[in-house]
């Protein structure tokens, strides 16, 4: 074996966390399956919290693989490209892979199975491109955070650049059970990932770069060490304690400091990118390939051959499930994302997007139905495991009582929804559900309070205005009364007064040296 990579030791350990069964071995027996072609693709345009990009094709247009479908126009939108050749069948809102989300704008592509691609221009000397050009390539390739949030990577690089980046972290922790897409990617494409990390480091002008991985990721470690041996990118081995891959926990482990509540990693001079994002950046900058596919784990006991797939963005879930051979069960659900943080699917016709790293078919053996909820006995086990150092048992009480003032005091906004509390709760209380509901209730409470405050300000100023008006009216009335009580109007006195005024004006004019040509006007 070649020389060992530079390693960085954990500077600090985050509070709490839990050891979970990985349940990844069965999937990792197989290599990543190359892009299966479904009959049609539904390409989601909106990523995460962003806005949808502007569609540049029309219904009926034949598009080639890698052709631009939608151009990012806003800061928080991401370009979309055709994952294969075909005809645009529809543009409109479709149900998305997130339970409870309203339909989102999508492009439906009828696949023609030709897989005819555009000519791409590769950059042989990609590491010597200037950082601005790198960011432009990353932006136009439609790359967003593929670990989950879907934030446009080019924007993140820019935000980091504005503050100055001292540490770039490539997150390969993958701490959620079942997911092994990143591990498989590293096993088969470690060199590309390391090159991608190098690109991201140059694009963000970061001084240090670390690839952080849990030390039980045995499939990925050897290829990664080999790929890193000729590089000065460091390797950090993390304790496999969930949620080691949480952004804030990861930064604390590598930097030794907690990230201030409400601030972003770049405020501390740190940027965190997922392994898949680094890989996509390599493909975009070095090979000119836009982001049209990603590695996704298909797993769960009801699948006959669970595998990792290099899936085209927009592939329907049902198509992939059929490829793996799904045994239908009476009570079965599908989870997009990991077992701890993933979301339940409403139905299997929905398509995968750039952030979908895992699809789990549940079974009663692995995912027991939630037990009936018992009263909280305040055992404090949740507080022991909370990586955000919250007191979930207190927070739960505040959320249930809808005491929104208390929830913010107890730090509801610091909750990262990792689910460690609900996992250990002996009373089977779905704490994350309560905290999510509490967060949205808290937001609307905040809105209401702000609006109430605004109206209060308006109301008080309205009252003051009325008061002033009343006072003015009273003053007018008093003045009028004074006029009324004055001696009766006499024509002679008025004339005198007018004459006096004219004389005053004349005198003033002469004093100022103004010619009296416009006397006529005055007379009129």
């Amino acid at each position: 074996m070649s020389e060992l990579p530079k390693t960085r030791h954990s500077a600090a350990s985050f509070h709490g966390g839990i050891y979970l069964p990985p349940r990844k071995g069965k999937v990792l027996r197989h290599r990543i399956m190359p892009q299966p072609l479904p009959p049609s693709l539904t390409i989601p345009l909106q990523q995460g919290q962003g806005t949808p990009p502007t569609v540049v094709v029309e219904v009926g247009t034949r598009v080639l693989k890698y052709q631009l479908l939608a151009q990012a126009t806003e800061e928080n939108s991401v370009c979309a490209h055709a994952p294969t050749s075909g005809v645009v069948a529809a543009i409109g809102d479709c149900p998305v892979a997130e339970h409870g989300h309203p339909p989102r704008p999508c492009i439906q592509l009828r696949v023609d199975h030709q897989d005819e691609a555009l000519e791409l221009t590769a950059n042989s000397d990609y590491l010597n491109l200037d950082d601005h050009e790198m960011r432009r390539l990353i932006e136009s390739a439609g790359i967003c955070g593929m670990g989950g949030a879907g934030f446009p990577s080019a924007q993140k690089l820019k935000a980091g650049l504005a503050q100055g980046v001292s540490l770039l972290i490539i997150n390969a922790a993958e701490c959620d059970p079942y997911i092994c897409a990143d591990e498989a990617l590293l096993r088969e494409h470690a060199r590309e990932v390391v090159q991608g990390a190098e690109i991201l480091r140059r694009a963000s002008r970061a001084t240090d770069c670390v690839i952080a991985i849990e030390k039980n990721k045995s499939a990925a470690l050897q290829p990664l060490c080999e790929a890193l041996s000729s590089s000065d990118i460091e390797l950090a081995l993390l304790e496999p304690r969930y949620p080691s891959g949480g952004e804030r926990q990861l930064i604390q482990a590598l930097n030794g400091r907690e990230l201030a509540r409400g601030s972003y990693p770049h405020d501390q001079g740190v940027l965190v990118f997922n392994v898949a994002t680094a890989h996509a950046s390599y493909k975009a900058v070095a090979l000119g390939i836009p982001c049209v596919s990603r590695v996704c784990t298909l797993t769960g006991a009801p699948l006959i051959t669970p595998k990792n797939f290099d899936v085209l963005i927009g592939t329907p879930v049902s198509f992939l499930l059929n490829l793996c051979g799904l045994e239908p069960l009476p009570t079965q659900e599908f989870i997009v994302g990991g077992a701890m943080m993933g979301r339940l699917l409403s139905d299997t016709s929905v398509a995968l997007d750039k952030t979908s790293n895992c699809l789990i078919a549940t079974s009663d053996e692995e995912f027991a139905l939630p037990d009936s909820e018992l009263p909280c006995i305040r055992c404090g086990r949740c507080a022991e495991v909370c990586p955000a150092k919250l007191q979930p048992q207190q927070l739960y009480g505040a959320v249930r009582a809808e005491r929104m003032d208390l929830t913010s005091e107890f730090g509801l906004d610091a909750c990262i929804e990792c689910g460690a509390c609900a996992y250990v709760c002996p009373s089977s209380i779905p704490l994350v559900q309560y905290f999510r509901a509490g967060k949205s209730a808290s937001r609307s409470w905040q809105r209401q309070r702000n609006s109430a405050q605004r109206w209060q300000v308006r109301f008080t100023s309205h009252r003051r205005r009325l008061q002033l008006q009343r006072r003015a009216r009273a003053a007018n009335k008093a003045a009028k009364q004074r006029v009324d009580s004055a001696p009766p109007f006499s024509r002679a006195q008025a004339r005198e007064e007018i004459a006096a005024a004219v004389a005053r004006v004349k005198a003033r004019r002469e004093q100022l040296g103004v010619s009296t040509d416009d006397d006529a006007e005055e007379r009129s």
Partner: protein, 357 residues
């Protein structure tokens, strides 16, 4: 009302509150069995009677509140309350004494505050203290079967049954057995001169069957408490701080040669209800402090209170009062020792760079 949507996490531990309650009950058994070995059937009869009555009362209370009786009995918390209460009251207490105490424990101390998880005071100790105030004479006498035979003989069982159900008494039956006070009562009333003897021979006044039954029973509860620590049912902080505080205060008294401090670490810990209260009662999660530092403070508070009551108030049931005082202070301790939230405890430089409003 909050709208709850199905949400992650999709995995759960298999460990539930019910199983923790069962572990608690199992951990109580060694002490209870040793105690019965030395003092007869009184405690077991107490326990049986308390289990039945408390389940009945729990079902009634829950039905009155319009909640699911099955779920309430299923959580098994009332069984733990019943056992702790049965251990606290004197063996051979009449059934109506147990009933009134449990009535208070279940209806007033638990369900009047909203049931499991909402009660600020430990129900078993509340019921016990209620009896101490309402029926002081019945509560001060421990019934131990009299006569030359073994405390485990059928005759002794009959005596214990009669003590529990006075109506069963037949003519010529000696109703009164040996009535005794708790060891610390004895000790509290004794002159300090008697203490060296207690230290060297291990509470010699308390050897009914030729063995130091009380101490052995307490060691049984200690073993149960250690099992609970091993099974991670309870946190080590509360029992450890209680025991350390009490020992520390005794040692401090010794070091200062204070005339008013009596007893030794040994009698403090193995006499009375110190161990059972430290491991089984004060650790009751519903009524104790929850965060780590608050638990340390909570344990120290209970230890200090118990010591003060024992030493200066001559009151034998110090632990129950100390635990209730701890319960009373727990919300304040939780508030005072609330740990900092992730990201709140950072340097000023970092905070200023943040976008925090």
């Amino acid at each position: 009302m909050l709208e709850l949507a199905a949400s992650s996490p999709h995995l759960r531990t298999a460990r539930r509150s019910e199983s923790m309650m069962i572990l608690l009950i199992i951990a109580l058994l060694p002490g209870m069995l040793i105690s019965s070995w030395f003092f007869g059937y009184g405690l077991l009869l107490n326990a049986l009677c308390a289990l039945l009555l408390s389940s009945l009362f729990e079902a009634m209370a829950v039905a009155m509140r319009g909640a699911s009786v099955q779920a309430a009995l299923g959580d098994r918390s009332v069984l733990v309350t019943a056992l702790l209460f049965a251990i606290a009251v004197p063996p051979g207490s009449p059934w109506w004494l147990l009933a009134s105490g449990l009535l208070f424990a279940v209806f007033i101390a638990k369900h009047a505050f909203g049931g499991l998880g909402q009660n600020p005071f430990n129900p078993a100790m509340s019921g016990f203290l209620f009896l101490l105030l309402a029926f002081p004479s019945q509560m001060s006498a421990w019934h131990i079967p009299a006569g030359g035979g073994s405390v485990l003989s059928l005759d002794a069982l009959q005596q214990s049954l009669v003590a529990m159900f006075p109506g069963l008494a037949t003519d010529g039956f000696v109703r009164d057995g040996m009535a005794m006070a708790t060891p610390l009562m004895e000790h509290g009333a004794a002159a300090p001169a008697a203490l060296p003897l207690a230290w060297s021979e291990g509470l010699p006044m308390w050897q009914p069957a030729g063995a130091t039954g009380w101490e052995l029973a307490n060691l049984g509860y200690l073993a149960g408490g250690l099992l609970l620590l091993l099974w991670r049912v309870i946190d080590w902080r509360i029992p450890l701080t209680i025991l350390l505080t009490m020992s520390g205060l005794v040692l401090l008294g010794d070091a200062l040669h204070s005339e008013s401090i009596r007893g030794s670490v040994y009698t403090q810990l193995l006499g009375g209800a110190t161990l059972i209260a430290a491991f089984f009662v004060a650790t009751d999660p519903e009524t104790s402090a929850t965060s780590r530092r608050a638990r340390l403070a909570y344990g120290a508070l209970i230890g200090t209170t118990a010591f003060v009551i024992r030493e200066w108030a001559y009151y034998p049931d110090a632990m129950a009062i100390a635990v209730l005082f701890g319960n009373f202070s727990a919300p304040l301790l939780d508030e005072a020792f609330r740990p900092s939230i992730f990201g709140d405890n950072v340097g000023a430089g970092d905070r200023n760079r943040g976008t925090r409003a």
